[in-house]
């Protein structure tokens, strides 16, 4: 960020331009009691060289996910990123946050988005894909709004195993809409299908299920789809760990109506929690109620293949307050990263990576259970995350892991305060862990 100083004279000129006589007058709306009435307590100024050394020294205190391997996921997953992707992403042609509305200037970008849509469409087996939504949580909220528009009903049923942060964002989005949100309880690590059946009625617009859920559990989506559709409600599947799409049954094959998914796992670093990217995928019959727009393939006047933005007519710049969404952030560079990542891995590559995640998580869980220091929280099918109970001092477990450069698993009590989860840990295991490391971790935690 650039520091732009101003002289006293320039300040006077600006104040005059605004129409106030002094700086004090400019800030009269800020209450007296919150104003700082002394100068900032800053150390003496440093030379550039001194400053660089000091900042470098402070920066060394940071841990990054390459020096410390995370055993925690819970919405953000460290996966291997091929160097080819990193190198290609450095091409400055891709470096724009602008939505490529002018096809005559943006064929490369548009083609990349089209490819991303095609990848996601193949993975989810859904007909239409909106690329480049801010993140998984806002895509989830957009999916709920879309279901409300499609059904003209006013009740949304959500799984309590939807990521707690996603639940917060959803609540915020739905607050002005006067919508009833009903939360489904869980049973043995999964959303209760029986309770879903009980909660469903003809006022229900949508049932919203994350699978794999917050605890990694693979939900009974086909079962929930059937009872949801009996009430003419829509089933929304939220996918937080996109890597799971490599081996799990596709939403489109389970009769899901709308899929909202984060693509952080496809070639994005953890980036301190963002920027990430997300998609929304649905059936062709719902295309008019999509938020945002899609990229389509067409022919130019010479008959050559080209790409354009389409289904733009309900975007906010055209429809204003009647727009289907006020979404405008375009995480295009992250879309391109995901496109490159998926293209580099290919169908077989993604399948193998996805399977590795599954196998390694199951390997670690078995080892931990065999150590005698852990016991099952639930017996449930899971992907690359699992909840497990630890019979020991959690603080000492965390310290041992950190000393050995592993980021400890998540304590779920902050989100699920129930007594039964006091000793529960949520582990995430991706392909970045070798078998030897997983054995080492087991030994470390069996002491």
């Amino acid at each position: 960020m650039r520091y732009i100083p101003s002289t006293e004279e320039q300040q006077k000129e600006m104040l005059k331009g605004i129409g106030v006589s002094s700086f004090e007058e400019l800030i009269t709306s800020i209450p007296e009691e919150v104003r700082l009435k002394r100068r900032l307590k800053l150390p003496p100024a440093l030379s550039e060289q001194e400053l660089e050394e000091e900042i470098a020294h402070i920066a060394q205190k940071n841990a990054d996910f390459y020096s410390i391997k995370p055993l925690v996921g819970a919405g953000a997953y460290r996966h291997f990123i091929p160097e080819a992707e990193r190198a290609l992403l450095q091409r400055e042609e891709f470096w724009t946050c602008y939505t490529p509305y002018q096809p005559e200037l943006s064929q490369g970008t548009l083609q990349a988005i089209f490819e991303f849509q095609s990848h996601i469409s193949r993975l989810t087996k859904m007909e239409v894909v909106v690329p480049s939504i801010f993140d998984g949580a806002s895509a989830t909220a957009e999916a709920a709004l879309m279901a409300l528009r499609l059904t003209h009903k006013d009740k949304i049923i959500i799984s309590s195993l939807l990521h707690p942060h996603y639940q917060e964002v959803l609540k915020t989005y739905l607050e002005p809409h006067n919508i009833t949100i009903v939360k489904l309880p869980f049973q043995n690590g999964l959303t209760s299908v029986d309770m879903t059946r009980q909660f469903l009625d003809d006022n229900t617009a949508a049932v919203l299920i994350q699978s794999p859920n917050f605890w990694g559990g693979i939900e009974n989506i086909p079962g929930i789809a059937e009872i949801t559709h009996n009430h003419k409600a829509l089933l929304i599947q939220v996918i937080v760990e996109a890597m799971s799409l490599g081996i799990l049954k596709s939403p489109g094959n389970m009769n899901v109506d709308i899929v909202a998914g984060s693509t952080q796992s496809f070639g994005l670093d953890l980036n301190f929690g963002g920027p990430y990217n997300a998609f929304l995928a649905t059936k062709r019959e719902y295309i008019r109620q999509l938020p945002g727009r899609i990229v389509g393939e067409t022919r130019d006047k010479e008959g050559k293949r080209c790409f354009v933005m389409t289904f733009r007519a309900r975007e906010q710049d055209i429809r204003r307050e009647k727009a289907t969404s006020n979404m405008c952030t375009n995480h295009n560079l992250n879309v391109i990263a995901a496109d490159m990542y998926l293209s580099l891995l290919g169908t077989q590559g993604l399948y193998q990576y996805s399977l590795l995640n599954f196998k390694k998580a199951h390997f670690l869980k078995e080892k931990l259970l065999n150590s005698g220091k852990f016991s099952k929280s639930f017996s449930y099918p899971y992907y690359n995350e699992f909840l497990i109970n630890y019979h020991g001092d959690i603080k000492s477990l965390q310290e041992r892991l950190i000393e050995n450069n592993f980021l400890p698993p998540l304590l779920v009590t902050q989100f699920y305060p129930e007594e039964q989860f006091k000793q529960s840990l949520l582990f995430a295991v991706t392909e970045i862990f070798s078998r030897a490391e997983l054995n080492y971790i087991t030994d470390l935690l069996s002491q």
Binding site: R288, A313, R314, I318, R319, K322
Partner: protein
């Protein structure tokens, strides 16, 4: 600019027309409206049996340029829907006062007809 009007119909400020036969009203959009919108590519499903107040949205229509609402010029219940415009929206462009009609309503408050414009008033209203 195209702005054909038909004598005997009633017109709204939001460019819908209403044909009245006893308590039966037929609703469509005017030639001016279809011309301004350009090629209409999509009409959202209109639900039979819906009770509308004057000024409420019957449906939304999408042209290559924009999406717009169609408002009911009169209060009443929708008793018939023109499925032809939903299957083939270009009918609205080709024949706005004929094959391009939207819905028939059972008029619940005939007093409201007085608030609408005559053909000549509407022609004047939309004169450039």
């Amino acid at each position: 600019m195209s702005n054909k009007v038909i004598e005997g119909l009633f017109y709204s400020k939001s460019d819908e027309w209403l044909k009245v036969e006893d308590d039966l009203g037929t609703i469509g959009i005017t030639d001016y409206a279809q011309d301004q919108l350009g090629d209409i590519v999509y009409v959202e499903e209109i639900k039979q049996g819906t009770k509308l107040k004057k000024g409420e949205v019957i449906t939304t229509i999408e042209s290559v340029k924009a999406v717009s609402e169609v408002y009911s010029p009169i209060s009443g219940e929708i008793i018939e829907v023109n499925q032809n415009i939903i299957n083939e929206p270009s009918q609205i462009n080709k024949d706005p006062y004929g094959k391009g009609w939207f819905a028939k309503v059972k008029i619940s408050n005939p007093e409201e007809i007085k608030e609408l414009m005559s053909a000549s008033d509407y022609a004047e209203y939309r004169k450039e």
